[in-house]
Symmetry: C2
Subunit: 159 residues, 2 copies
Amino acid sequence: MTDSNPNASLTAPSIPGDALPPVEQHAQQYATVRNAHETELIEDYVELIGDLLAHRGEARAADIASRMAVSQATVSKMIRRLNELELVTSKPYRSLFLTEAGQKMAETSRARHDIVLHFLRALGVRDATARIDAEGMEHHVSDETLAIMQRFTEQQQNS
Amino acid sequence: MTDSNPNASLTAPSIPGDALPPVEQHAQQYATVRNAHETELIEDYVELIGDLLAHRGEARAADIASRMAVSQATVSKMIRRLNELELVTSKPYRSLFLTEAGQKMAETSRARHDIVLHFLRALGVRDATARIDAEGMEHHVSDETLAIMQRFTEQQQNS
DNA sequence: CAATATTGTTAGCCAAGGCTAAACTATTTG
DNA sequence: CAAATAGTTTAGCCTTGGCTAACAATATTG
Ligand SMILES: [Mn+2]
Ligand SMILES: [Mn+2]
Ligand SMILES: [Mn+2]
Ligand SMILES: [Mn+2]
């Protein structure tokens, strides 16, 4: 605290609801979000490739581009990265396939995505909205919360 | 569909749970997420500045840096951007303040953040986890879902 | 009040994730 | 089977959001 605003304590508005969390904890919140942002696009690609393989038998760059509403150049560059990460295998001008690691990631992401989507529907959110919200939320839901969401959805169904 | 994988329909695994959504709808999911990503960091900064002003009477770059676990250079650069967006006013080496627009954004973001946090706690998520999850989820929750979360939390409290 | 410590800014670097335009390959069709 | 169409890749550009290192301003303290 400095002298630059000597009235600080006087001008502070009436205390709002919650206090600020301790610095360490607060920092952890943001750090966790930054971390999720590093992996989430990768997860969405891998998950989508897995879905295309499962439902269509093949996963072509053009399909990914139109489903993600992104240019083919963007997809092509991303595929190179997925290759470097050894999540997919690809021969030029041919369908993509998932490596072992890629399949594992696809399954995990798909499972998590489904839990969030089904939870939102069980809560009473309209399907189209639930799908949009789930696409973003899924990457920021801890295992703890995920387990609670799943339990909630099941209880909702048995009643 | 091409001839490159003539066994596509034969090799397709037994149909998983849900079908793929129509291309347009699927694309909308990802586009909405990309959109949220463009604004979320701005929202977090503005919200934090508002919180610091409310609880401490001033918002210094150094506080933001330590609460976000980010370098002071990163904060300094971001402040320039917030200035350009006319969300904050700042004199060099002095505390930040929010413009009208900044205050409005801070209130909206804080309100939304609180609804998500309180909802997670009402669901039964431990406080520390709820705070981490809320920090990321808040930016991907539609107004529709937000309203449902708020109602759920209230009902939980009156019982 | 001078020296030191803290705080803030600037410059320059990097990776990620978008884009368009142009070139190349493969598939389909006349 | 040649030409046209569709799909893929590459090159080069841009913005965002990180970083470190060096420097500048302010605040604290012996
Ligand atoms: Mn997903
Ligand atoms: Mn997603
Ligand atoms: Mn927030
Ligand atoms: Mn946030």
